[in-house]
Amino acid sequence: MKIIFFAVIISMFFSACSEKKAPVLAPEYLFHEEGQKVITSLINDKIGTISIIYGNEGAFRSALDPVKNHVSGERYIMVTWKQKPMPHWYGTDMNGPIISVETVITRSDQAGRVSFDYSSALCNGKLLDSKDKDHNHRARFIADQPAAVFP
């Protein structure tokens, strides 16, 4: 008899937890480009964004180099998402929709001087920050970030 009552109680226990609202997955928030490794990530609470800087092998090598001797052929991609609160956990913000994809490519002239080609795809034609209008400054900001520590 005790077993029957236990069964009733346990079923009540689980039925009380069965209220579920399925989330809508958002694959459009994913970014991927073959051959790119994560160099680092950035949070900017002032403008409410969260970013990842990816790089090709050359860019990755440069990011690991404390002296930052850039060479031709490095390719950086900085993807920036709008921050949003993490669903179901107050205390964490996460990436929402992608708002910009910036690309930096290093090239060298005959004298061996390295320059930085910068291009960006910004949603709604808006710049995130007026300071970023200086493309060379922005390119150096992206290309000069040190690699985050991985084991």
Binding site: V24, L25, A26, L30, S41, G91, T92, A148
Partner: protein, 299 residues
């Protein structure tokens, strides 16, 4: 009618003799809280999450007493505000944030408990008080000011680290796709979350639950000080957290195998295989509808 009452009495009366004891163990170390916060918790949480339970008379009558006894036992094992020093300080903070989240998500107090104990309900204003409180905890906005220590990539690890549940560390996640990136401001860390092909395909096809073989790897760093433009960069590496889906192998943890490897030496986390229970308890409470995963891109 007399027969029905008679049968009911035959069932009901003996049950009372085997009813569980709802007594309180001694209070060891009570949590210290601001008065207004404590008042909310005493009314909403203490009946189950402390050694100061005060069950109503009807809670003590079987078969209700069985359910109440089960709830109190389970609740004390998860969070006991009367044995607070059982948890290290970092875990205490995490438990307090989890408590706020459980209330916000309306998972706590348990809805069926609220039905017969409406006085335990936490109002939006009271939840705001609790949120304000957790935002004063030391982990909030914690920054990593230590010089960044880098591993020597030329040095190979002597052995592949293995978690107590048998999950091996692996490094090929670095070629996987990123499924999310997070700012965990409750504990001062930032994370990049990778998913293997099966995980990414499931997200792309908007399919839940995730299939067996789906894997998630979360890389965790401290947060450096904000620069003048508002940028915050990763500080020291803290840990790698792994989730592997295998419904059969990890049945007791909702089909997910958990592993965590701490520091650059990737020391397996936990003192016993029960460490995974701590992980799934929180995931089960708050994200059962997302196949027990927090870090997925959702609208």
């Amino acid at each position: 009618m007399i027969v029905i009452i008679g049968v009911a009495m035959i069932i009901f009366v003996p049950l009372q003799f085997s009813s569980p004891d709802l007594g309180n163990p001694a209070t060891k170390k009570e949590i210290s809280l601001p008065t207004e916060v404590k008042a909310i918790l005493e009314r909403a949480c203490y009946d189950c999450h402390s050694n100061r339970s005060q069950p109503e008379w009807f809670d003590r009558i079987a078969p209700v007493s069985y359910m109440v006894g089960h709830d109190i036992k389970e609740a004390r094992s998860r969070l006991n505000l009367s044995e607070w020093d059982r948890n290290p300080p970092a875990v205490q903070q995490l438990l307090l944030w989890e408590m706020v989240n459980a209330i916000e998500e309306k998972k706590m107090p348990l809805p069926r408990y609220l039905t017969i104990h409406p006085n335990a309900a936490v109002s939006p204003a009271e939840l705001a008080v609790l949120k304000q409180y957790v935002n004063t905890l030391p982990g909030r906005n914690m920054t990593d000011t230590s010089p960044i220590v880098r591993s020597d990539s030329n040095k190979r690890m002597p052995l592949v680290p293995v978690a107590l549940n048998g999950i091996h560390y692996f490094s090929d996640f670095k070629t996987w796709r990123i499924i999310s990136t997070t700012d965990k401001y409750d504990g001062g860390s930032m994370r990049v979350v990778y998913g293997n092909d099966l995980m990414v395909q499931a997200i792309k096809s908007k399919k839940l639950p995730f299939p067996d073989g789906a894997k998630i790897v979360k890389v965790v760093w401290g947060k450096q000080h904000e620069d003048k433009d508002g940028n915050i960069l990763p500080g020291n590496f803290q840990n790698v957290q792994i989730m592997i889906k295998d419904r059969k192998k990890y049945r007791s943890t909702e089909g997910w195998g958990f592993a965590k490897f701490d520091g650059l030496k990737l020391k397996p986390f936990g003192k016993s295989v029960a460490f995974a229970t701590t992980c799934i308890n929180c995931h089960r409470l708050l994200v059962s509808e997302s196949d027990f995963v927090f870090n997925i891109p959702t609208k």
